[in-house]
């Protein structure tokens, strides 16, 4: 992230004169002093514990949030982040402990009360309804009405425009929300909650499935909001994207706060080891052998409106990453190599011989396995882990149309062990697994099916850091066996860390190719944003 660190930023001028209460002034000055102990914190949790029956979800959490500060809450899935957010939202009541807002105890906070106190949450799941217009979405749930429940449309539009101006974003109120990009939907949700009483904004994993550009835009808004004196609590399991602008990082593990770091201490390695409770070693495994012969190549493939004149090779033992902004061709090419849909022109060769690839079925026949970016499309949630693992290999494990259940069960057991899938048993339903473990099961399906090439779209979206490292390890092991991996990813760090070769796309064309030795993040970023057009392949 190229932004300059913004520690201890002074509150924006006008904040004090805007008539903020004296409490707020005190909190701001305490915060700018760099210590939370001297003044009154905006929100404070003391020895907060939440138990569900015998299970302790949160244990003795102390947490201080100050006005005008950017706080991050990190932890793996299951660390207790969601429980903590639900307590802050007034949905759960803590079993023990205190919650204070500007020094005053909150006895029984309800969601409505917290909202009137200026505490807002943008939840992980989108509340934007694609079927309604932007203005309707903006109004929904807090509609200003005239008599008989008729909505004051003019008021809604004016308010939307006013809040948009505050952050330099401009929405067309009549546009159906389905035409908004994922990032804009999240920004619209933020605008929705930012009323005059705003004091604390909590964002729960806001950037899942964002492009790098969308992350930048969101952070620009948060920076502005912070400068205006609002406290931000940003919940994530990815420190990278906020590394430059975070003031304080709190790390949760197994329901306890295991660390609190200031801006300078919050470096990737340290946070990650706190989150997972052990040194991960290397996040990205290196290959020690040079790639072998060319396994699959595309020659001059094209699909109207998506990509043109793309030629690339995946060699045996190689992991190739395709990167680019959404809609610029990287995902589309990866889909093309799986026949979803196939290129309109050009050739695809496997071991140097042209193959016919008109559909996913053709791809499967040629030993290509495909995993879509949306786990809802890859995992059968209400079927067992075993059945999910067996999906890719059913034909192989069957005799005369009947599945050899003994073999299915043995193979499933082997894969669960090999991938260290954390599940109760192979009969556990897929939906009972965490996101990372579901992704391992999806991957396991193709490991079972003896593929030559794996095509993956955003393989670690929504997967926590521990599971990500494992997935990378398995991909590397898969490739090392003389096979190939093609990854289209919106995570630049992942592409740079994982892949042997990174191919950058811009406006449907491959604009640069980087191998291990010649790549810096800035160069790749420049390539996918079109700033080095014509510099050519390395």
């Amino acid at each position: 992230m190229s932004s300059t660190p913004t520690t201890d930023q002074e509150p924006a001028p006008g904040r004090e004169t805007a008539g903020a209460g004296t409490d707020r002034g005190a909190a701001v000055s305490a915060a700018t002093g760099g210590a939370a102990t001297g003044g009154v914190a905006l929100l404070e949790l003391r020895k907060l514990t939440k138990a569900f029956g015998a299970t302790i979800a949160l244990r003795d959490i102390d947490l201080t949030l100050d006005a005008g500060k950017f706080h991050a809450l990190l932890g793996e899935n299951g660390a207790g982040k969601s429980t903590l957010i639900k307590i802050l939202a007034g949905i759960y009541r803590p079993t023990r402990g205190e919650m204070l807002m500007e020094g005053k105890p909150l006895e029984h906070p309800t969601p409505a009360l917290l909202r009137t106190l200026g505490l807002h949450i943008v939840h992980q799941d989108s509340s934007i309804l694609p079927g309604l217009t932007v203005a309707q979405n903006f109004a929904l749930g807090q509609e200003p009405t005239a008599g008989l429940g008729f909505i004051r449309r003019r008021t809604v539009r004016d308010e939307l425009a006013a809040r948009g101006r505050r952050f330099g974003v401009d929405f067309d109120p009549d546009m159906p929300a389905e035409r908004l990009a994922i990032g804009d939907r999240k920004i619209l949700e933020i605008l929705k909650v930012l009323d005059a009483r705003q004091k604390l904004l909590i964002l729960d994993e806001p950037t899942a499935s964002f492009t790098a550009e969308e992350v930048r835009r969101l952070l620009a808004i948060l920076r502005e909001l912070k400068a205006q004196g609002t406290a931000i609590l940003y919940v994530t399991h990815r420190l990278e994207e906020i590394e430059g602008m975070v003031d304080r990082v709190m790390v949760l593990r197994d329901g306890s706060k295991v660390g609190e770091l200031t801006h300078d201490e919050a470096v990737q390695e340290r946070v990650v080891s706190l989150m997972v409770g052990r040194e991960l070693g290397q996040m990205y495994p290196h290959s020690d052998r040079p790639p072998g012969e060319v396994l699959v190549s595309a020659r001059g493939i094209r699909r109207t409106g998506q990509y043109e004149d793309v030629s690339l090779d995946v060699r045996q033992g190689e992991i190739v990453a395709l990167v680019g902004l959404a809609g610029h061709g990287s995902f589309e090419v990866a889909r093309g190599l799986s026949g979803l849909p196939p290129p309109e022109a050009g050739e695809i060769l496997m071991h140097g011989r042209p193959i016919r690839l008109r559909s996913l079925r053709d791809a499967l026949k040629n030993g290509i396995g495909f995993l879509a970016e949306d786990r809802a499309d890859t995992i059968l949630r209400v079927r067992t882990v075993r059945e999910n693992l067996a999906l890719g290999a059913l034909e192989m494990w069957s005799r005369m149309g009947f599945v050899d259940t003994r073999r299915e069960s043995d193979e499933a057991e082997r894969l669960i062990k090999a991938l260290s899938v954390r599940c109760r048993s192979q009969n556990a339903l897929a939906e009972s697994l965490s996101g990372g473990n579901q992704q391992k099961v999806a991957l396991g399906r193709w490991l079972a099916a003896e593929r030559r090439l794996l095509v993956l779209l955003d393989p670690t979206a929504g997967v926590d850091v521990g599971a990500r490292a494992e997935i990378y390890k398995h991909l590397r092991a898969f490739a090392a066996d003389g096979r190939g991996v093609l990854v289209a990813t919106s995570d630049l760090a992942e592409a740079l860390g994982l892949a042997d070769t990174v191919v950058a796309f811009y406006r449907g064309r491959q604009v640069a190719t980087f191998d291990r030795d010649n790549r810096r993040e800035e160069d790749v970023l420049a390539a996918i944003t079109g700033q080095t057009a014509g510099k050519g392949a390395a």
């Binding site: 509340s127 309804l129 079927g131 009405t145 008729f150 909505i151």
Partner: protein
């Protein structure tokens, strides 16, 4: 404007084209007497279809509308019968009260006890069918004369009830289009979870929708009773499914969210017009069913082709 209103255009075009064709091709269709008769026949279908639409918009379905139509007629015929005191006021109060109760129970079964709408309202249908037959084993009772006059009042050629019904339904259409309730109704149908995160209470919205549906169905029942002058324990049966057909023909998406009350009004009129035209042509009853089924399937297939194409482009 947006996809919501485009869904409404199809049914309205269908209605207009159908009416023009019928006017020129079907003898006697265009006569004032027939048009008045056709609209009068359409009233119960219009009322039930609009109620059904409000429920379908929340991604639900109300199979009990037919039984409520019957229940309203049965209660009215019993309480207006001079043998039982014959109070119109009491009868109307009882009908509205029963409809409120049925709608509320439907809503609570779905919201509180998490029953699928299909099952909850199917169960309600059986329950009410039994109640109807218990109250009135064979057609009978008596609708007060003055109340019978209400249904047959005409302003020139135009039946007064038709005007009142259309004004009422237009008001509902505008209401759903422009109010907080209407917006929340659609929001819940699109995505209940997202609506909840936006601060909407899906439970309240759904219960209100089932109550509206029951109230409109009871109006349909009162209308039929006042035309026939008596109660009939089976009279509402056909509206259970024809209200759904009319809504779907009107472009209302059975998966919720999409569609408008205007479309449902057009859909109900198209369905009623088909019946009227076939009657004028002297076509026997089973052919009428075949034609209605055919038109429904063709229309829905056409809608889904038009709207499906847009969607698939977004996915690629």
């Amino acid at each position: 404007m947006n996809s919501l209103s485009r869904r409404t255009v199809g049914p309205i075009v269908l209605l207009v084209v159908g009416a023009v064709l019928a006017y020129f091709l079907v003898p006697r269709f265009g006569t004032p007497i027939n048009l008045g008769y056709f609209l009068l026949q359409a009233v119960p279908l219009l009322l039930t279809a609009v109620g059904q639409t409000l429920v379908i918009m929340t991604a639900g379905i109300d199979l009990s509308v037919g039984a409520i139509v019957t229940l309203a007629g049965v209660i009215a015929a019993l309480l207006m019968d001079p043998a039982n005191g014959g109070s119109i006021f009491l009868a109307l109060l009882a009908v509205v009260g029963a409809a409120l109760a049925v709608g509320l129970v439907n809503g609570l079964l779905i919201v509180r006890y998490n029953l699928p709408p299909f099952l909850a309202t199917l169960g309600m249908t059986f329950f009410l069918a039994g109640v109807n037959l218990y109250l009135m084993p064979v057609p009978g009772g008596k609708i007060a004369e003055s109340f019978q006059d209400a249904a047959s009042t005409r302003w020139g050629y135009v039946p007064a009830t038709v005007v009142v019904t259309l004004v009422l339904l237009a008001a509902i259409a505008i209401y759903v289009d422009r109010t907080r309730f209407g917006l929340r109704l659609r929001a819940v149908g699109w995505n209940e979870k997202a609506a909840r995160l936006a601060g909407v209470s899906p439970a309240k919205v759904k219960i209100a929708a089932y109550i509206c549906s029951a109230l409109l169905a009871s109006l349909a029942g009162l209308f039929i009773a006042s035309r026939t002058g008596s109660g009939d324990p089976l009279v509402g049966n056909s509206y259970q499914l024809s209200s759904i057909s009319a809504a779907v023909l009107g472009g209302v998406d059975l998966f919720g969210g999409r569609g408008t009350v205007w479309g449902a009004i057009a859909g109900a009129l198209v369905l009623a017009m088909i019946g009227n035209v076939l009657n004028l042509l002297g076509v026997v009853a089973y052919w009428q069913w075949i034609v209605q089924g055919f038109v429904l399937l063709v229309a829905v297939a056409l809608y889904s082709v038009r709207f499906g194409r847009r969607q698939s482009r977004e996915l690629t």
